[in-house]
């Protein structure tokens, strides 16, 4: 019935090119960088974690297994390092390679790892137990370096490999020979993947600049071939299995497998794109390049939505997900310099805890003990409430209803009215001058220009602008003047600033003689306004010239 008191609504200004988008904010929230330099600064050639390539196609047992997994593998030089996703720490290192290792991949259940080698060997290691990795299986069929080894997303015992011997092979774990060999590439095969949702399809990219799609059921060569201008460094099938990304030179091509045609060529990178990874449950693609840039693309129109620069050429990257929702957890980037950079995004309760810790730390540094005590007491109260509720729940076998000690509503949160901020209360209760002072305070941590603008506009709507500006002394009028001078050139603020300036001139011009400060500020304002006027005149002149040119062009 009786309407609820609403705080003054802030104005919505026309949208200009926003300096930071929600997407950028999201990718900026990957912070807490942790760098790990590999032994002897070997370049990080591959980062992988189980489940990165499988969208939704995996069988149920595999999904369950992937959930339990806490490992990701980083291949650098002749070693594969196993890290913990949760702790971001190195757990163990597998160094039993004769030559440079490639493509260390952990299986979805987190038990075994496969890696290729420059010698052409492929080895399967047990990583689940013990500190030392036991070699479970060794194949030496490829005679050239094996660059790709990948587990099938659907079957635990199936894997594929691709090698510089121009072949792609399909393996069954128990057998000693490949179950299938695909040949057709004319040059080194440096990338490959299983197609999600289509278990029999494989895709590979080669230095002969082709991307080939293979079907395990179909005999003979590739079922589909895409020819590019540059060698293929990386292929990445998108979830759904109809679209494929291929890194070709400094470009990324988007290929449609159903229509069998290229959709688009993304040319945002300056140097060779070395790695691609899915993120945000397949709605974004992250690419890394030798130019040191990581770029994030959205997958409908392939616009760059965010990006960041790393100090060294990027050889490998992966967005490592965790948890049931496969939320993006780490952005792992491996570089030429041998540095593995791990950036982590906290979410949910962890993020809240981290924030609380940060404020406490900040207060501790500041030495604001009273605020600290307040936080402590609030925390203690929460704890007490929780304890008492729990003890009541224990008692509660012979009672029907337990009433919790704190007034929480049914949804769990405490229902409370929106508390007005001090300036909002000042505004509501008609202390307009005080309200204006607090929102125009440039040094205040809560200062936002749009709040100040909202208040000024609301004052104009309430015919109270003059009342708020009147009756000030030299000290209190100067912040107003400074604010006006700061914003008078912004077109969105100009009309209000002009009104305020007029009012200030009208009220305070007679005191200019007595106060040099005031006179100075007025002079500064006049200068700024006349500069703006000059700019406007220049713009009009330019516009006139352009128009006359246009007319001339139209006539000719």
């Amino acid at each position: 019935m009786a309407a609820e008191v609403q705080p003054l609504a802030t104005l919505k200004l026309p949208t200009v090119v926003s300096p930071i988008t929600a997407e950028q904010r999201y990718w900026k929230s990957f912070k807490n960088q942790k760098s790990h330099t590999s032994t002897a600064a070997w370049p990080i050639s591959h980062i992988s974690f189980p489940g990165s390539s499988n969208g939704s196609a995996a069988s149920h047992s595999l999904v369950a297994a992937a959930k339990a997994n806490d490992l990701f593998a980083v291949t650098s030089g002749p070693r594969v390092d196993i890290f913990s996703i949760r702790k971001r720490e190195l757990l163990k290192t597998i160094g039993r390679f004769d030559s440079e290792a490639h493509s260390g991949e952990i299986r979805a259940d987190g038990r075994v790892l496969v890696a290729g080698e420059s010698s052409g060997k492929m080895q399967v290691f047990d990583v689940g137990t013990g500190t030392r990795a036991v070699i479970l299986k060794t194949w030496h069929v490829h005679k050239q370096p094996v660059w790709v080894t990948k587990w099938s997303p659907a079957e635990l015992t199936t894997l594929m490999s691709a090698s510089d011997d121009k072949t792609v092979r399909l393996w069954d774990l128990p057998s000693n020979a490949p179950s299938r060999m695909f040949s057709g590439h004319q040059d080194y095969v440096r990338s490959g993947a299983f197609m999600p949702d289509r278990n029999n399809l494989l895709v590979s990219g080669s230095y002969d600049s082709t991307v080939r799609v293979w079907d395990a059921r179909a005999p003979g060569g590739s079922v589909l071939t895409f020819k590019h201008a540059d060698p293929i460094e990386e292929v990445l099938p998108l979830p759904g299995g109809t679209t494929l990304l291929a890194a070709t030179g400094s470009a990324i091509s988007v290929l449609d497998l159903v229509a069998a045609k290229p959709l688009r060529l993304i040319t945002n990178h300056q140097k060779t794109v070395t790695s691609l990874s899915l993120a945000s449950n397949g709605r974004r693609v992250v690419s890394g390049s030798l130019d040191g840039h990581v770029k994030v693309f959205e997958t409908t129109n392939w616009n760059v939505v965010s990006g960041s620069k790393y100090p060294s050429p990027i050889l490998s990257l992966s967005v490592i997900t965790a948890g049931a929702g496969h939320e993006d957890r780490h952005l792992a980037v491996g570089m030429q310099s041998g540095v593995l950079s791990l950036r982590t995004r906290l979410s949910g309760a962890t993020a809240e805890k981290a924030r609380a810790r940060a404020t406490e730390d900040a207060l501790m540094v500041e030495g604001a003990s009273s605020k600290l005590a307040k936080i402590d007491s609030a925390k203690a109260k929460r704890k007490r409430n929780a304890v008492s509720n729990k003890s009541m729940a224990l008692l509660g076998e012979n009672v029907d209803v337990i009433i919790p000690t704190d007034a929480t509503n049914s949804s769990g949160g405490r229902k409370r009215r929106v508390k007005l901020k001090p300036w909002q209360r000042d505004f509501r209760e008609g202390r307009y001058a005080a309200c204006l002072d607090s929102v125009l305070d440039l040094s205040s941590p809560e200062y936002q220009p749009v709040t100040a603008l909202s208040v000024l506009v609301a004052l104009r709507h309430r015919s109270a602008l003059r009342e708020a500006l009147e009756g000030r002394d030299e000290v209190t009028v100067l912040p107003l003047l400074k604010w006006v001078i700061k914003y008078i050139s912004d077109p969105r603020y100009a009309t209000v600033c002009v009104d305020v300036a007029f009012q200030l001139f009208d009220i305070y011009s007679e005191y200019v003689g007595g106060s040099t400060e005031l006179a100075d500020q007025f002079a500064v304002m006049t200068g700024k306004v006349s500069r703006e006027v000059e700019k406007a005149q220049m713009a009009i002149i330019t516009n006139g010239m352009v128009e006359s040119l246009m007319i001339g062009g139209a006539e000719a």
């Binding site: 959205e298 008609g430 309430r462 015919s463 003059r466 009342e467 009104d499």
Partner: protein, 971 residues
């Protein structure tokens, strides 16, 4: 222009004068004569076999003459012929419904004795509402305004209504012109036969039940004007009313406005400005044989301020002889400057005999900032309840001086009534709503909300008793912006203010709210703020001036009802702008520069019809300053709007997916967000470019209007200075101007509409133009050209019946502005015929006309907040009818026990028991209201398809049964 044409009024006009009419419908001719005659011949050949005008149309309409239009004759024989045909024309094709709604007057609502009904006095009716379910039980129309009395400056209005003290089924209603109705509100009888007393003006009236010859009889105390500066209280009983002569109780030499009485007429109190007059009945110890035996002793004393309201609380005691007498009297007055004065035990403070008492010291309670609109004693006398323009209900605990508040009600509190049992309060708010609050938890149990549009009120507001720094508007100068949602035909959307007083404070009424009004249930469904409004903040500046809120000037729904476009305008009041003057600018120009004109697009939520702001365009039309948006129309086939501004540009607006950095953004529920933007701008040709001879200064005010053709392929834009507007025909697909048609209008453009191949242009002329054959079909000149009339002329087109309606006010000849007493006329044309189908004079100014959705008629809203439905015969108006009219009212047996108890005190216990049993029996039917089935619901079922394509008979049976079967009560 009028002067030019008056000499041309020929004998026809004088004939009309003899009829009591002021003018006649005159035809103007533009096209070569042959064309016109041809069309008229076609017309005359039409059969005229329909029966003559039936009784549904008022007398004024029966005379078949319009005061709106004037026909230029040119002495043409053919044309005279045509107008002869007009007089014999048959109008039964269209009929005007009884009006519904109205404005609640500043008269205390009345509870029935059992608190089951609330009787609310409206400006033209008494409406009885059930307090249980807020439903309208009965509407008793009172013929307050007589159509023939238009010449009087102050038209009659209801001044008081009171429940009969001795027969609670009856209601006394007094009208300012001396008519007094004695209504049975349970049956509605008595509205036609008022008593008339011979007075200059009735100011107030109270009713008391007085013991006359040992029988309780109603005695009316009427406060009436005597001379210019004096007034009288006259007492009447039924006999005296028939004789028209009452007993003069007292004559004042000043002008009291308020009269209250208490305790069976033992005490009457009249308030005049700063004086209170207390009259006590002289008990002579003998029985009163008639009103002539009533004798009063009068005292008067000064009070500190102007009295706006008062309440008496007498405490009675039984005398030794068995009679009753007043033990003591507590009196409370509310004043115009916000103070409340309490006079405890007043009678003992009055001197014994002197008629002029000295100043009596009251207790002062001051919280209200502005006038106290109502103050009442609670039932037990421990509390005072007061309210006013602060929209706060204040409860004063008298013993402790503590105050309790019920803040932020929707509008100024006008009246407060404590129910007979003291268990609830009835509030009447200025936004034409009334509610019943339970005293225990202050929650509304009944809510009645009418159309909140601006009305012409009879009495000045209580605020205006004191000189304020602002002046309220006393005229209606802008049309009511109304529209209906094409998908929900029963709902009207009206742009209204926060109440009559709050919205009439600026130069133009501020209307920041959109009231959704359901015509079928006749209840306000909801209110949405569509412009800036501060319901919970102070509504005054510190200087005492009201804060002006924006005014919605245009509104349109998209064809699918999913989008709403609205235009609102605000400009700072000139008093704020003194310091901003530079150079030779006037405050008016400075204010214009700072106008805020917003074009807003709202998404209408499908479930609850709530509005979500999607886009706000700050400067939709802009030159060096924001330009007025003259019109906004919606494309009849796609989600697109077109707007026309005074910059001479037509802009098309269409929605697109909202993108941010190339990404489509989604709302919290994952739905796609849209945004509206200008998809095309078409510059209209200026008048000067067409005719070089005429030089029009760019400062001249422009007028214009837009209309889409019915298939949405063409947009007609009429735009230009009043010296000559041009109609441009714009291809909506390409934006190219296909054609320009000059000389279709005269003066300001007031409206343009398209109906198949006809274009209807309303300016000072009404012109119907055929686009295909490129000729004027017919044209009339509007007679009324006053400034106010220009604003309030309406044009509405109904494509279903291929007809259009024109409404214009007829101001009083003595008035410049549209004030009380002005009338309106509405004329319905069929587009193919130049003969009006219906001419109807309305007793109030029509503020809006719109076609009713999905039916062939029109809906009109007038300045008394009433809704009229104009329908083609055979069609049922989709309007609520009171329960009584639907025979849905509860059985008489329910009311019977109360009657018995009061009228026949000796009714035996057995009889009482029987009556109670009846009540028990009827209890099952208590909630029969849910089975109200409007005729149109049945029509929807049976007219859904032609007979051969109807649903199986079983389905129809279940549909009908579903309508009539009572659902389980949820109350």
């Amino acid at each position: 222009m009028v002067e030019l044409r008056t000499p041309r009024k020929t004998s026809k006009a004088s004939k009309m004068d003899a009829n009591g009419e002021t003018a006649s419908l005159k035809k103007r001719k533009r096209e070569p004569k042959e064309e016109t005659t041809a069309s008229q011949k076609r017309q005359r050949s039409k059969p005229k076999t329909q029966p003559a005008a039936n009784g549904t149309v008022d007398d004024a309409a029966d005379s078949q003459e319009s005061t709106l239009f004037e026909q230029t004759t040119n002495g043409d024989l053919e044309l005279t012929d045509a107008s002869n045909g007009l007089t014999t024309r048959d109008t039964s094709a269209w009929k005007v419904s009884n009006p519904m709604g109205g404005r609640m007057l500043d008269i205390d609502p009345i509870f029935s004795l059992d608190e089951r009904y609330l009787l609310i006095t409206y400006n033209t009716s008494i409406q009885v509402y059930s307090t249980e379910d807020s439903l309208l039980v009965r509407r008793i129309t009172l013929p307050v305004t007589k159509l023939d009395s238009g010449a009087e400056l102050s038209s009659p209005h209801i001044v008081a209504s009171a429940l009969s003290a001795s027969a609670p089924d009856f209601l006394w209603v007094a009208c300012s012109d001396g008519r007094i109705w004695h209504l049975n509100w349970t049956t509605g009888e008595g509205a036609e036969t008022p008593f008339t007393i011979d007075v200059k003006k009735v100011l107030d009236m109270t009713v008391e039940s007085v013991d006359i010859r040992d029988k309780q009889e109603d005695v009316l105390f009427v406060l009436q004007k005597f001379t210019k500066s004096s007034a009288q209280i006259v007492a009447y009983d039924l006999k005296a009313l028939q004789k028209k002569t009452g007993k003069l109780i007292h004559t004042y030499d000043e002008n009291p406005q308020l009269l209250r009485s208490a305790a069976g007429g033992r005490l009457i109190v009249a308030a005049a400005k700063e004086t209170l007059h207390i009259g006590t009945l002289k008990s002579k110890g003998k029985t009163v044989k008639g009103v002539d035996d009533l004798e009063y002793a009068f005292h008067s004393f000064g009070v500190p301020d102007l009295v706006t309201c008062l309440d008496i609380r007498p405490t009675l005691q039984t005398t030794k002889k068995g009679g009753v007498e007043i033990q003591f009297v507590d009196l409370v007055i509310g004043c115009a400057r916000g103070a409340i004065y309490v006079y405890g035990d007043l009678l003992s403070k009055l001197p014994g005999n002197a008629t002029k008492a000295g100043p009596i010291q009251p207790r002062k309670l001051h919280w209200h900032r502005r006038a106290v609109h109502s103050v009442k004693w609670s039932e037990d006398g421990n509390y005072l309840i007061s309210g006013g323009a602060e929209t706060v209900l204040v409860l004063w605990q008298l013993d402790t001086g503590k105050r309790e508040f019920l803040p932020h009600l929707s509008a100024t509190i006008e009246n407060i009534v404590v129910s007979p049992k003291g268990s609830s309060y009835a509030l009447h708010l200025d936004d034409n709503s009334a509610m019943v609050l339970s005293t225990a938890e202050m929650k509304p149990t009944t809510y009645v909300s009418g159309i909140q549009s601006l009305v012409l009120s009879d009495k000045p507001s209580k605020e205006s008793l004191v000189r304020r720094v602002w002046r309220s508007v006393d005229e209606i100068s802008t049309p009511l912006i109304t529209t209906s949602n094409p998908t929900n035909p029963s709902q009207l959307f009206l742009c209204v203010g926060n109440g009559q007083q709050a919205s009439s404070t600026g130069n133009a009424p501020s209307t920041p709210l959109l009231q959704v009004f359901d015509v079928s249930s006749f209840q306000g469904v909801g209110k949405h703020p569509i412009a800036r409004t501060n319901p919970t903040d102070a509504n005054m500046t510190s200087q005492g001036a009201p804060i002006i809120e924006p005014r919605v000037t245009k509104m349109a729904f998209s064809h699918d009802g999913k989008w709403l476009a609205s235009v609102d305008e605000w400009q700072p009041p000139e008093r704020d702008l003194e310091p901003l003057l530079t150079g030779s600018k006037t405050t008016c120009e400075v204010s214009r520069e700072r106008r805020e004109i917003y074009l807003k697009f709202w998404e209408v939520e499908a479930e609850d019809n709530s509005l979500q702001l999607v886009s706000r365009i700050n400067e939709a039309h802009f030159t060096t300053e924001s330009e007025t948006i003259l019109d906004v129309v919606s494309d009849p086939i796609s989600s697109r709007f077109a707007s026309l501004g005074t910059d001479g540009v037509v802009r098309f607006w269409s929605p697109k997916l909202r993108r941010k950095d190339g990404l489509a953004t989604t709302g919290p529920e994952g739905h796609q967000l849209r945004t509206w933007s200008c998809s095309r701008a078409v510059e209209l040709p200026a008048y000067g470019q067409l005719e070089e001879a005429v030089e029009v200064s760019p400062k001249t005010p422009r007028s214009g209007a837009l209309a889409f053709s019915e298939d949405g392929s063409v947009l007609f834009a009429a735009y230009g200075p009043s010296s000559g507007a041009v109609v441009a025909v714009i291809d909506t697909a390409t934006g190219a101007i296909r054609d320009t048609i000059p000389n279709l209008s005269r003066g300001e453009i007031r409206g343009i509409e398209a109906l198949s191949s006809s274009l209807i242009i309303l300016s000072e002329d009404l012109t119907v133009y055929d686009i295909v054959s490129d000729e004027v079909q017919y044209s009339f000149a509007l007679k009324e050209t006053s400034e106010a009339a220009k604003q309030m002329t309406h044009l509405a087109v109904n494509s279903e019946s291929r007809s259009f309606a024109v409404a214009a006010p007829i101001p009083n000849s003595s008035q410049e502005k549209l004030k009380k007493g002005a009338k309106s006329e509405l004329v319905v044309f069929s587009v193919d015929e130049e003969v009006p189908q219906l001419i109807q004079t309305f007793p109030q100014v029509i503020t809006a006309v719109l076609p009713s959705t999905n039916s062939a008629g029109f809906v009109a809203v007038d300045s008394a907040a009433q809704i009229w439905s104009i329908t083609e015969s055979g069609e049922q108006a989709r309007m609520l009818q009171p329960l009584a009219d639907l025979n849905m009212e509860e059985s008489k047996a329910l009311v019977a026990p109360v009657d018995l108890a009061i009228e026949d005190g000796e009714a035996s216990d057995e009889e009482m028991h029987d009556a109670d049993a009846d009540v028990e029996m009827e209890d099952d039917d208590y909630d029969v209201h849910q089975a109200v089935v409007a005729p149109q619901k049945l029509a929807e079922i049976f007219n859904a398809a032609p007979a051969f394509a109807m649903a199986p008979i079983e389905d129809i049976f279940y549909q009908v049964a579903g309508l009539f079967s009572t659902r389980p009560s949820t109350i």
